[in-house]
Amino acid sequence: MQQPSKMNEEELVEYFRTQMRTDPDMASAVAAIRTLLEFLRRDKGETILGLRESLKWATDCLTEVDSSVAVSSGGELFLRFISLTSLEHQDLSRCKKVMEERGELFLEKISLSRTKVAKLCHTFIKDGAKILTHSSSRVVLRVLEKAAAEKKRFTVYVTESQPDTAGKQMADALRRINVPVTVVLDAAVGYVLEKVDLVIVGAEGVVESGGIINKIGTYQMAVCSKAHNKPFYVVAESFKFVRLYPLNQQDVPDRFKYKADTLRTVSDLSDEHPMIDYTPPSLITLLFTDLGVLTPSAVSDELIKLYL
């Protein structure tokens, strides 16, 4: 039987895009990891070092397609996974078999992570609560679905989230499950906060300091919640933990701030609008992850356990 040939760039990108298309509910990091696993299966390399090099190349290809933090963190996690496994088995073919098995298991486990997060978070939503959220996040949607399923009555305010008005999608999804929802302007966050009981947002990446990287406008919301003394909760799966330590907005690398096409075509980025911002840990009350409910100081502990 003919073995499938090694994936080249087009096949890689096509596979990634197909994954994202067939399951719109899948996180982009999960799609990236699935793609890399398929790449691993078809790889013809003879050495582990060669394998690592080709995987790094594959991750770079994927980040050119989708420059979000999540894809980058998914790729790094996969590379780490390869390194850890290769330390245990010296023989390449055995190593690859073990990697493929563990890779499948890993994918299975992380497909359950959103459910775990929803189970932890929905108890913090009380009956009659008014919730504010930013843009469209599938994890937040899952949490709110679980709370609605537990027969809690709550209303949601969603920011419209320019420039792609993703907030409207979130509002549609919530209307479908019969949750009263209002779309507000991004500029109206301060105005609406006095009515709101708690703020829940998703995250594209969780950084080492315990802060988050998320759609532009999140930082503003966090600062306003602090001023109004409202709890600011973040819900994120654990594969979004990334090895960055930004101290301010400028420290976030440009490759995350702008879309992939923008990075390729535009030469002077100072005229472009960034798509994400960084929220420092001092503004975050609690993070809900599939590893448990964490205070921002506990996040770096988790990352150290993995990377050291």
Binding site: F81, R102, L105, K109, T285, L291, G292, L294, S297, E302
Partner: protein
Amino acid sequence: MPGADKETDLTERIEAFLADLKRGGSGTGPLRGSGEMARETTYLLRRITAQARWSSAGDLMEIIRNEGRRMTAAQPSETTVGNMVRRVLKIIREEYARSRGSSEETEQQESLHKLLTAGELSEENFRQHFVLLKANVIEAINELLTELDGTTDNIAMQALEHIHSNEVIMTVGRSRTVEAFLKDAARKRKFHVIVAECAPFCQGHEMATGLSKVGIETTVIADAAIFAVMSRVNKVIIGTQTVLANGGLRAVNGTHSVALAARHHSTPLIICAPMFKLSPQFPNEEDTFHKFVSPHEVLPFTILCILTFLSELKVNSVSSPELITLFISNIGGNAPSYIYRLMSELYHPEDHKL
């Protein structure tokens, strides 16, 4: 038959304990103070381990979990009961792992590392039978009891590092731990203590009498005067009923106001709390942890018409971790942001919800 006698004796003891817990809520039962409650719970759990019928660690954990649920349901505001049950469950897990020969102390927690390197999705079901498990668990529970006995002394031993001569210390209400802490420091240092009386039970008065008996200069103030006096205070040292998982507190009414006043004047707020008060709950999760008592302390029973307005008094308040400077416990001083680590050492994540 001796077996049946033991079992009925055990059930009787459990029922008696539950009844005590229910009565203990009003502050008048035989169980006063969380230290005694923790000790009683641990004795009872040791007895259950010794006398109940179980063949594997899984069975024992089920029994203890069921009893634990009943105990926490009897008095939800006493979190030390639940904490001790969780400690014992962790002890059982550790002893089981040790009997199996795996050094699994750090691998029991969920982590990214574990996600990447673990083998199967299967869970430990604790079904293996080990002959020595009972003896090991009982020995470990005895160690826990020794630790519980020594907590107040361990905390008091650290007093000299934190209290200096000629300082003005403020405290609120009555806490046995803080009393021992201050008395220990008074052996070598001269300082002044201001006690807020803490209406309506005015336990501050008992605290002040206790402190002045050992020669500490004490002043009692009304709760309303806390903010006014705060500018003269060097440190605020208080006890608490529970330490929450985010580093916050659930303590006697008025603690939050003291914490805010201390923050306003940039006065350090030190909490003396033994480790058994650390609970894996977060604030907002359950509102059933507020204790309500009858208003007879405030209004005499003869004023019937006003009872429709004031039917209960809330006696607990919740503080957030940003207001706290330091936690002093029997294992040393820690920052509130470090509480998550202490918690992961004491309790297993699967036991957070009994």
